[in-house]
């Protein structure tokens, strides 16, 4: 193996010269495949059947109760065989739980009373490592230095009725994983994002009926897309709201084909939050497609952002490790492949990921400081039937309607965009001490004691997007 030591420290963003110099590529629009999901009906374990085997090494099926049968959640998880239900009683657990057994369901008996607390010492609340079909539901996870719940490289995951607060990277995080659902959950106080799905195509995932607030980003999705739906959710008081994005530091680039429908997105200009640098950069935008392709953004209500309600812009990546792929990969969950040393040496200091082929239709946008709708550079993005007073370029919906016509190269306000990008943003708050209003008790799942355990097997049930309307204003 050969290699060379290269020092790659941080470099300041160098956007101006790159944006003015580049011409962007067009990309074909993909299909929006809304196939029916397979039935998820693997009910593993009758909750009336307490087969609590406290004697340790033999795997145990059915329901494993914590703390009645197992003193710790980890002990129960370690004892459980695939398909088991780990049912956790009210209390505060100072644990970091690793799951490596397929199709476990970890469930709190009360969403607000079952609390996993990292006390700013432990890294992840529940971490699912290459175990398929694992469900985490009906509990609170807080004060972890990294993530509340984290699935990595799995086929099948679900997070339901979760409260993730004040975790140091993401609240709820799925990486390199497919066939997932994040629903009825809450993410707050994370410097990166409340909810994150990254490195998958097609992801086959649904984010439905969640609330994200007081984060750096409400949603971040690097190189994620393909049957990926973000619907019926509220994104508020973050630095930026919904941010699909591309980057060479994760696999499956570029980001593409995310469907964002029926969301309420407002007041994402909050300069007080914890925030990674990318979140600070995106501050003031509601839906910010940065370097993404062929996304569908429809019937969202977007209000009160300092910069833009909906922005479709390129993403400037500093110090890339690989070039933009000539062909986006299919069936991908693989890690990034850094380019060979000689290729990396020739990469620009700032790599500009284009945003093309995005469809923005039927949204209601108002109260934007600069633009309700804005596109910067890019080709084949279209905008139709949006309620929007100020667009850039002016008359955007007449210039680039979603009627199949070719809008050609639009004259976009690059200079103003650059000026806004380079404005100073407030520094990140310390996520450990950041004060934000308590959300209070949140609704939990029905009948946690008796509901059957349902691991996530196969693709989720996709939403009927056409039936989702425009949300009401708050």
């Amino acid at each position: 193996m050969t290699g060379q030591a290269t020092a790659r420290g941080r470099r300041p963003l160098r956007v101006l010269g790159v944006l003015l110099a580049l011409m962007l590529l067009a990309a074909a629009c993909g299909d929006d495949d809304t196939e029916e999901s397979a039935a998820v009906d693997d009910t593993a374990g009758d909750t009336d059947d307490d087969t609590a085997a406290t004697d340790g090494d033999a795997p145990t099926s059915g329901t494993l109760r914590v703390p009645d049968d197992y003193e710790t959640i980890q002990a129960a998880v370690d004892a459980a065989e695939p398909g088991s239900l780990v049912l956790i009683g009210p209390g505060t657990y100072h644990e970091a739980v690793d799951v490596t057994t397929d199709q476990l369901v970890l469930r709190g008996q009360d969403r607000n009373e079952v609390i996993l607390d990292g006390e700013f010492e432990l890294e992840n609340g529940v971490r699912v490592l290459e175990a398929d079909g694992v469900v985490v539901e009906n509990m609170t996870l807080r004060n972890y230095t990294r993530n509340g719940v984290f699935w990595t490289h799995v086929d099948g995951y679900r997070g339901s009725y979760l409260t993730a607060e004040r975790n140091g990277d993401y609240g709820i995080y799925a990486f390199g994983s497919v066939n997932g659902v994040l629903e009825q959950s809450y993410g707050a106080g994370s410097p990166d994002a409340g909810f994150y799905i990254g490195q998958c195509y097609p992801c086959n995932a649904v984010i439905d009926n969640v609330l994200a607030e007081y984060n750096g980003l409400g949603y971040s999705g690097t190189n994620a897309g393909g049957d990926l739906y973000i619907v019926n959710s509220e994104w508020r008081r973050n630095r930026a709201g919904i941010v699909p994005n591309s980057g060479s530091y994760e696999g499956c680039a570029p980001e593409r084909e995310t469907t964002v429908v029926g969301n309420l997105v407002h007041d994402n200009s909050n300069g007080d939050t914890p925030a990674i640098s990318a979140a600070r950069l995106g501050q003031g935008n509601g839906i910010l497609v940065t370097g993404g392709l062929d996304n569908v953004i429809e019937r969202n209500r977007i209000l009160d952002h300092d910069i833009a309600g909906i922005a479709v812009v390129p993403f400037p990546e500093d110090d890339p490790i690989a070039p933009i792929p000539e062909e986006p990969p299919t069936d991908c969950v693989e890690d990034a492949q850094p380019a060979a040393d000689d290729v990396r040496a020739e990469l620009p200091e700032t790599l500009l990921w284009p945003a093309t082929g995005n469809r923005v239709v039927g949204n209601a946008v108002s109260g934007s400081g600069e633009w309700d709708l804005v596109v910067i550079l890019g080709r084949d993005n279209c905008f139709s039937d949006n309620e929007a007073a100020v667009t850039s370029p002016e008359g955007l919906q007449e210039l680039a309607p979603c009627d199949g016509s070719d809008a050609g190269e639009l004259e976009t306000d690059v200079a103003r965009f650059l000026a806004l990008v380079e404005e100073e943003r407030p520094e990140s708050a310390d996520y450990e001490t950041y004060e934000f209003p308590a959300i209070g008790d949140l609704p939990g799942m029905d009948d946690p004691e008796n509901a059957p355990a349902e691991p996530q097997v196969g693709p989720p049930s996709y939403p009927d997007v056409a039936s989702i309307g425009l949300p009401d204003a708050p």
Partner: protein, 136 residues
């Protein structure tokens, strides 16, 4: 003539070896360790931490190679050797995006490690460095 020189040469060699063997811990003659150190390579290799993997995940190097771990991702990572408290541990606070840390591996063997944030020694974000004898 040659037959006469050979015993003399042999005698001289033996004498030299005896002299070497009788040396103490002084700092004047080269020791066996120094002789070994002199045979180590002087190479450099980079292992990248991306989000969320090491690249290359499995690296083979010769003893004496300096490995530089560089975080080119956007997340924090760390480098936790399987051996407890190994001197080449890179804690999270020293391995944010853009950070680097180096260690020279001089002893042949297999060195396993991982990022504890994103996995364990076996799954998630593991890595292995195999150190071979110089020239091996």
């Amino acid at each position: 003539m040659s037959s006469l020189r050979r015993p003399l040469a042999t005698l001289a060699s033996v004498a030299a070896l005896v002299a070497l063997a009788s040396c103490g811990g002084g700092d004047e003659e080269p020791t066996e360790d120094t002789a070994e150190a002199a045979s180590l390579v002087d190479a450099e290799v980079e292992i990248l931490a991306i989000d969320n993997a090491f690249d290359p995940e499995d690296a083979t190097i010769e003893a004496g190679t300096t490995v530089t771990f560089t975080n080119v991702g956007r997340n924090d990572h760390n480098v936790i050797p399987e051996e407890d408290e190994a001197e080449w541990t890179v804690p999270t606070q020293d391995f944010g995006p853009g950070d680097s840390a180096s260690h020279r591996f001089t002893e042949p063997g297999e060195y396993r490690y991982y990022c504890s944030i994103h996995g364990t020694i076996d799954v998630g974000m593991p890595g292995t460095i195999t150190v071979t004898d110089p020239g091996g």
